[in-house]
Amino acid sequence: MHYDKKRKHTITTKNEVTYMEKRAVVSVVGKDQVGIIAKVTTIISDNDVNILDISQTILEGFFTMIMLIEIKDPSSLETLQKKFQPLEQELGLKINIQLEDVFQAMHRV
């Protein structure tokens, strides 16, 4: 995962912000069980979102997956978050989506 400075959003007109290929981090935490990756990635691909990177591990008995995805419009984050809700309930998962910039700001000088 690396940060490309050109991929920042640009202001076009007053109050209207256009986003170009922003990246977001999807994190999935929950009890390990069969089919988590399959079900999560299905929702992502059904929404026509491209996955750039996936890493996954079991931490203290908890399944933890972090994905980097590419998004064209930040409002699609909200749509995606809503689509995840039934899955979160079904499998007892916590799924978060956040723009990648916040991690860059916090962990890189």
Partner: protein, 453 residues
């Protein structure tokens, strides 16, 4: 450099488990162009300006919070000191202005609007006197309007005539809101050396040196600092400082990026980052508990000032590295009613009013959200303000007093303010009188800036 798995987890943990949040985004709005000889027009202009400038504040902040996954708790408005608009107004009109501000805040769904303020640290102008006269009623008739009064600065000394009035005003405000635990006083701050760009309530106002509109951000995260320290139980104090610095750095960076995005979308310049550790009543979101984690059995015991000084300085160092524009009060807040650790300190007899005063010498503000016994006299309240102002004046720092003399309550009882303002044990005041000092009036001259021992 790629972001590591553990780093992403750390951020998520900070938000999900340790209450990392943006405490407030505050839009400062200048109201100077709202002056008019017809007071009806003044009110109309004020309402229209505030509600149009801050129209999208709520929705934009909520949207950005969602996108970045870091909650923004409060959205607030700070206006130019309202006394500037009251030149020839009457007391009734000043109260109407406060009600107008309340309505604007209601319309925008912001919980507080700050700046029903006057700067009287050297003298009191006509409009400022009107504001002071109107204050008790204005605070009792409105819900969301916050007021701050500057009564001293290092460069001018302490205006003891204003201090005397403030004791009376706090006393009257408590009386007028006695059916509601004297809550009016929680919306009133008395300042020495106030800052013009503080985004935190109740002391926020849009200072004279500020522009037309500005967006400032207050981040918080006592819980994050506490949890970071818990991972280093045996570190020496240099390392403790380092842990706090690193944590404050991360918190500030998160706040700055989110603040800048909100400002950009609202088309308003970004002002400053205020990197104060502001506690809440949530579990483990306490400044007192950080001090206890550093090594005190209870906050308020011997060593409290040393631990607080270390923490406050480390927060500033970490935050100052993280943002180009650090401002506001920046440091640690020690409000009693909003901090479960402070409440426990008082209930256990470890923390007293005198110790809290001493703590204000080394932290960012002053006596904050302290419930006093209801029969504290106006002169005693004034003398408490004078003491705090003296600490601020001599030490060239901001100090403030936000005390609530709860009518009908005595030392040892507890008062429940509810919501953000929390609950507090009632503290007794010194039974000996300070009346003569306050009655003398006049000004305490500005202090010497050299010979500083």
């Amino acid at each position: 450099m790629p972001i590591a798995f553990t780093e992403i987890q750390e951020t998520i943990r900070m938000v999900e488990m340790e209450h990392l949040d943006i405490r407030t985004v505050t839009m400062g709005i200048s109201l100077r162009d709202c002056a008019d000889h017809d007071f009806e027009k003044v009110k109309q202009k004020v309402y229209e300006k505030i509600t149009s400038y801050a129209k999208d504040l709520q929705s934009t902040a909520n949207q950005v919070a969602k996108e970045y996954g870091v909650p923004i708790i409060n959205k607030r408005i700070a206006i130019s000191p309202a006394a500037e608009l009251l030149g020839n107004a009457t007391k009734e009109q000043a109260i109407e202005l406060a009600e107008t501000l309340d309505k604007a805040a209601q319309a925008l769904e912001v919980d507080f609007i700050g700046g029903f303020s006057a700067l009287v640290h050297k003298g009191i102008s006509k409009g400022e006197q009107i504001l002071l006269d109107a204050l008790p009623e204005a605070l009792s008739k409105t819900e969301r309007v916050c007021s701050s009064i500057s009564i001293a600065t290092t460069r001018t000394g302490i205006n003891m005539d204003a201090v005397a009035q403030m004791g009376q005003i706090i006393h009257q405000t408590a009386e007028l809101t006695k059916d509601n635990n004297s809550i009016g006083c929680a919306k009133l701050v008395v300042f020495c050396n106030p800052v013009e760009d503080n985004p935190f309530m109740a002391g926020a106002f849009h200072g004279a040196g500020e522009g037309e509109a500005v967006l400032s951000v207050g981040v918080s995260g006592p819980g994050v600092v506490l949890n970071a320290l818990k991972r280093y139980p045996d570190a020496d104090l240099g390392e403790v400082s380092d842990v706090i610095k690193k944590t404050a750095f991360k918190i500030t960076r998160a706040g700055e990026i989110i603040g800048r995005v909100v400002a950009e979308r609202l088309n308003v310049p970004f002002g400053i980052m205020d990197l104060s550790l502001a506690p809440t009543n949530a579990q483990n979101d306490s400044v007192a508990e950080i001090l206890e984690e550093i090594g005190l059995e209870r906050v308020g015991t011997h060593g409290t000032i040393a631990a607080l000084a270390l923490m406050n300085d480390a927060v500033k160092k970490g935050g100052a590295m993280a943002s180009s524009y650090v401002g506001g009060l920046s440091g640690a807040f020690i409000p009693v009613s909003e901090d479960n650790g402070m409440i426990r300190g008082i209930e256990d007899g470890a923390l007293s009013l005198s110790k809290l005063e001493a703590m204000t010498c080394v932290c960012s503000v002053g006596l904050d959200m302290i419930a006093l016994e209801g029969n504290a006299s106006p002169e005693t309240l004034s003398a408490i303000i004078a003491d705090e102002a003296a600490i601020g004046m001599i030490n060239k720092k901001t100090t403030a007093v936000r005390v609530i003399p709860v009518v009908g309550k005595e030392e040892g009882e507890t008062v429940e303010f509810g919501g953000l303002l929390g609950r507090a044990p009632i503290i007794g005041v010194n039974p000996f009188s300070s009346e003569k000092l306050i009655k003398r009036g006049g000004r305490v001259p500005a202090p010497l800036q050299s010979l500083i021992n």
